[in-house]
Amino acid sequence: MKKQFLAAAVLAATSMLAQAGTLGDGNLSISGFGTLGVAKTDSDDAKFARYNQAAGTGDSPRIGLDSNLGLQATYTFNESLSGTVQVLTRKNTSQQFTTDLTWGFLKYKLNDETNVRVGRVVLPAFLISDYQNVGYANTMMRPPIEMYGQAPIENVDGGDVNWQHAFGDTNVTVQAFGGVSRGKLYIPTGGGSVAKHQSPVYGLAVTAEYGPFTGRLAHARAKIEVNNLAPINAVTDGLAATKIPAMIQLADDLTLKGGKRMSFTELGLTMDWKNIVLQAEYAQRRAHEPVYIPETNSGYLMAGYRFGKVLPYYAHAYYKGAGSSVTVPTVPAGHPLAPTLAGIRGLLVSPEQKSDLIGMRWDFAKSLALKVQIDHVKPQVKGGSLILPSGVMTYGNSVNVYAAGIDFVF
């Protein structure tokens, strides 16, 4: 079924490719991107997934990890006003392939340096937020989950302002955004469940480009509200039922009901100089009021060297806990609530993970790139970002992920 679907999607894409030439001539331009990939790991005990992806990949080959198809239409009304819609089909929070509206906005060009977009726009938390789903635009097979899993919100219903200015040889872009982010979050614990979030969010991203070097600093603030987070609600309902003030306080501290303020700060660098390709990012996730979500630090470094059309690369990625915003009350040993509180202390500890990966991108034909990548994933605390079977709380063994795919744009 899944394979039939993808075959149909590829057929549809190919027929659109044939039409793209004629459609592109007028005010409407249709373009698309996609990846046809296959992946397997060497373990079925813990499964590997992208961030916010429900279907984990185990020791039998699966196309769902990396395969996707995006279609985009832009209509130009006049020199100042255009509209863009993009839909993306992939395996995300559901076990099946689903199609979602990634962007849908009107863009108004105020002048040569400034434009405003209103509608559903990208949440530019990361260096590659803009094109993280476009395999062809990226060196690596997929964004490192260690970092991109720390803020799995991709778009905002609202708007942004982009200002681009050249200071001598340095190009500076400032992007300010705000609105409400809505979407589904996949909660891997307790056998897996999907929660809906609606989070007011705003922030700023500043990018400076100088020749082959790009530096980027971004800061995003959100009030993350999730009301149907089953595993956490079960805990907080239990605490509130004790009618003990300290436990009611703890329940209020843990919950995402009603929304909790968090921030995400990111620093990114890229270099594409001579044949050396570098990409690095570091980020901090922080809570600005008590919430169960742990604070984290994350980062990665990728280095590659271009031999003509072949680009081999290596990357190291990690994330670590940076503390919790919740203080759990202490009770004497033997107190009836002691096991519950010990469980909550465990819940507040962030998972941690490191990965080393090697891969190769080969631009073997026009608008096509072949990639192979092997990830050596080392969970450090609680099984890292691997999806564990129901009831299993920790997993300490390394997992190798073998993946190959073809990226295309049209």
């Binding site: 331009s29 373009s31 991107f33 995006g70 985009q72 832009t74 130009t76 255009s82 863009t84 993009q86 962007w103 906005f105 863009k107 060009k109 040569d112 340096e113 977009r117 990208v122 803009d130 094109y131 789903n133 476009v134 062809y136 635009a137 982009n162 681009q164 050249a166 040889d169 190009n171 480009e209 020749g211 059309k309 631009d363 026009k366 608008s367 790139a369 744009v409």
Partner: protein, 135 residues
């Protein structure tokens, strides 16, 4: 055998006599106040880093297009495509319009005061203004 060698030598000499690739010039509209430009500046428009001018491209897969991006930015066609796909799929920019020949590029630049294009030096006439020569 000797004949083959002579023929090879002759063709090598003939090839050496021709320039490796023809000179390319970057052109703008005659009303454009710019008079000179460095290749780093010109590449900004063709790689989507500045929207001050509207770039006009030659046909995808053409030799002049591959030569132009190599000379102006040391990028091969696949790298240029990857750079544009970053911009296109966020709706931040649309790739340059393509034209099939030097004459069509020249006409597009002559018709649009904000346009910037590139053509073979031999195709230049007084309908456009040359602001950069790429040897």
């Amino acid at each position: 055998m000797k004949k083959v060698l002579t023929a090879l030598l002759a063709s090598a000499l003939a090839a050496a006599a021709l320039p490796a690739s023809a000179e390319i010039v970057v052109i703008v509209n005659k009303d454009n106040p710019a008079s000179r430009m460095f290749s780093e500046q010109a590449s900004q428009f063709f790689l989507g880093k500045s929207a001050m001018f509207t770039p006009v491209d030659q046909a995808e897969g053409s030799k002049i297009r591959a030569d132009f991006y190599q000379k102006v930015a040391e990028k091969d066609p696949a790298q240029v495509k990857a750079i544009w796909s970053k911009l296109v799929f966020t709706g931040k920019a649309t790739p340059p319009k393509e034209y099939k020949s030097n004459a069509e590029v020249k006409k597009a630049v002559a018709d649009d005061p904000k346009a910037i294009g590139y053509i073979d030096k031999s195709a230049v006439d007084d309908s456009v203004k040359v602001i950069l020569t790429l040897p």
